[in-house]
Symmetry: C2
Subunit: 439 residues, 2 copies
């Protein structure tokens, strides 16, 4: 798409530029504060996992306008020349507070707060929303899948072929790994983020040999850690062929780690395959399943007695199948005239600079000058345009997040479908009073 | 994300590389043919619009392995040194046949066919699927939205804030414009593809002024073509304020093109706003609506008497809300040993190199050497690695596709929900016989 030669400046909705042009002409560039939050309720999500902060900060650092960007904007005949000159030197100089990546969080509370000269704060709206909405969406879905699979299971991301573009695939691999996945099939994400890469074999490999057993033998010879796909022809025969290879490898001091099932009635087939592998003297060969899995299908698989050491989760993770977009918004909450709010029905905005205080899993949103109980969740990550947050150690953070996901209280880890979840988020008395006054 | 410095070579699922490594070691690199097709049925899609070919061919041209890619792969300790040397010189030298972008097409027929040395054909699997699945998904959704809105309506893409990353947003803008949308709010897509860019104003703009009327007056003064967002406070008052500005602009020989509604009961509010604008002597001011719209909501809006000249469609277009991923697959269909097929239940593959012949809207899939009736849909776009397809003239093609979308027969343009659509696709007698033999 030629994106590799593009700055990030033009990635915005046109109205941000036309508004900014107007602010510029009117010298309306005092500090303004915007909050990024998700409006409640979010169906089927009793909690969210905040993700995407590092990629957002990277995009912010690249948020500049090249000469070709400026020439393009000039051609639109919508902007004042002086405004375009301003864009030529654009640099974000504001402050940003954000939750930590991997934090459990909820709709109805600010996840990120941006304070900057009004034009700057307005122009970054699209990159805030686009990146944080998507990674938080995937991380939140990944947490549900991990809970369904259980702490003993190995869960990996197989989503690249169905994700919405290459960049989406890299975000999906990152967000799911951050949350506790074990790896990804996405080799580019492996390189960029040090995520363990995993893979088995495709049906086309098996079809490329005269018969299944020859294909299995060849793959086992050429791959140090082969996982054999046993459903190209007949699954029972596939399991027996895998057992032959497992025994042959054993003779060479090696091991067949697993077989993979990717189609059919996975619960029933996995039991049959387990039985065959055991009968054939290969109890050490594990079963790995894949094929349009998500948290509900994994629960159903287990309920029906399915046997699996691991799950490959693709399409339904990467596009967050049951909730394919997160309705995060970025709203003006304060400017030089004080707290601001929009009063449209059902679209109330919490006014003012806020902090979120957490005690247990109960959050209180309070004005910045109030002092709440528990621990504050928003930390300053950018000060006067300079990033002060150290780069995330993804592998280390993954350990912490994974542990958190598996120790959520039952009212949060409950995966039962729910159209209208209630969240443990309340407002401080001061904020309540401000909002009452606004109604 | 640092993607701007990356080649496209590493964007693959690891198993493509481990299989390729094995093929390489065994000198299994004869020509193989893979087909890209969507498995039937696709719920709620009575037809698809094929899209993403040019972006795919661009990615293919960039499909190389840099030194840092190769160093990363070496670090995985999965690959033979000679194979990595082969990757260092990787270049696609095969042939590709594809439908034209914007073509109406169906699940169950090949949309793209790749013939190349086996390793090459295997390694490009992820870029084929990732790009074509997503653009075809969005184009197919866009066509439904256009049909619901009607030929007289102006329909624009407002999806960037909810799309899955920046690249997804550019794909979404491109695919929806190709299908017949009028423009996009995505300024980067505007620059890259010459798509008309559109935008109005945000609630934050209105909130940045002492009152709504001041905000409207300022925006009208600073923008040559202002569209005023009238639902920040009270919609009726917003409409009256817009009428004041419309009359003031008229006095200066200018015009207020439209107002926008983005929340509440759009059908009821649009009627009230129309009435107020007419009463205030502003029948020329059009109404533009937005807010979680899709084809079903637009139909409902119209059924309830909603009045709108145009629709801004965001979230539900860009993530194809009711069907967030297209299950396109890329399967080995022929190699030096002849046609190949996988026989798993429900996952039958059409074997062999094929052509699709269209008469009216009935398609016949035939072997390449057969001669069908009507027009052949697959054209050679890459010959021995060289692109022979001229770059798409997006604006011109949009006109043709738009016309096609609005002249679909009723059995295809029907938007009624349907879990199991039947498609006008049949196999030639020869293919039928081959598949019967395989069962």
């Amino acid at each position: 798409m030629g994106l590799e030669n593009e700055t990030r400046g033009l990635f915005l909705d046109l109205y941000e530029l036309t508004m900014a042009n107007s602010y510029f002409l009117r010298d309306m560039n005092d500090e303004a504060t915007f909050a990024y939050f998700v409006r409640a309720p979010v169906p089927n999500r009793r909690f969210l996992i905040f993700a995407g902060l590092d990629p957002f900060l990277d995009a912010l650092a690249q948020f500049r306008f090249s000469n070709s960007d400026l020439a393009y904007l000039e051609s639109l005949k919508l902007f004042d020349k002086a405004f375009l000159d301003y864009l030529a030197d654009f640099e974000f100089t504001g402050d940003i507070w954000a939750m930590e990546e991997g934090e459990v969080c909820f709709p109805g509370e600010p996840l990120v707060i941006v304070s900057a000269p009004r034009i700057q704060a307005q122009l970054i709206e699209t990159i805030v929303l686009n990146i944080l909405n998507y990674e938080t969406l995937v991380a939140s879905k990944a947490a549900r899948i991990l809970i369904a699979a259980g702490e003993e299971a190995i869960v990996v991301d197989f989503s690249p072929r169905r994700d919405h573009g290459m960049e989406a695939a890299v975000h999906a691999a990152r967000a799911s790994y951050l949350t506790g996945f074990h790896g990804t099939s996405n080799t580019l994400a492996g390189k960029l983020y040090g995520i363990p890469v995993v893979g088995t074999m495709a049906h086309s490999y098996v079809l490329s040999f005269p018969d299944e057993l020859s294909a299995f033998r060849a793959f086992a010879e050429d791959h140090p850690n082969p996982v054999l796909l046993i459903d190209t022809y007949d699954v029972a025969e596939g399991a027996r062929n895998a057992a032959i290879v497992a025994r042959e490898l054993r003779g060479k001091g090696r091991k067949l780690p697993a077989v993979r099932l990717d189609s059919g009635d996975l619960a029933a087939l996995s039991q049959e395959v387990r039985r065959i592998l055991d009968e054939e003297g290969c109890p050490e060969v594990e079963i790995f399943v894949s094929g349009d899995l998500d948290e509900q299908r994994i629960l159903e698989f287990k309920r029906r007695g399915g046997v699996a050491r691991g799950y490959g989760v693709g399409t339904r993770l990467g596009v967050s199948w049951d909730l394919p977009a997160l309705g995060g918004v970025y709203k003006l909450v304060e400017d030089e005239k004080g707290p601001r709010m929009k009063r449209s029905p059902g679209k109330l905005t919490i006014p003012g600079k806020c902090q979120v205080w957490r005690e247990g899993f109960t959050d209180t949103v309070a004005l910045d000058e109030e002092f709440g109980k528990g621990r504050p969740l928003l930390r300053r990550v950018v000060r006067r345009g300079e990033r002060v947050l150290p780069r995330l150690d993804l592998a280390q953070r993954r350990e912490e997040v994974r542990e958190r996901v598996y120790s959520l209280p039952p009212e949060l880890s409950d995966l039962t479908p729910c159209r209208d979840p209630r969240y443990p988020v309340r407002l401080s008395a001061t904020l309540e009073a401000m909002l009452k006054g606004a109604k």
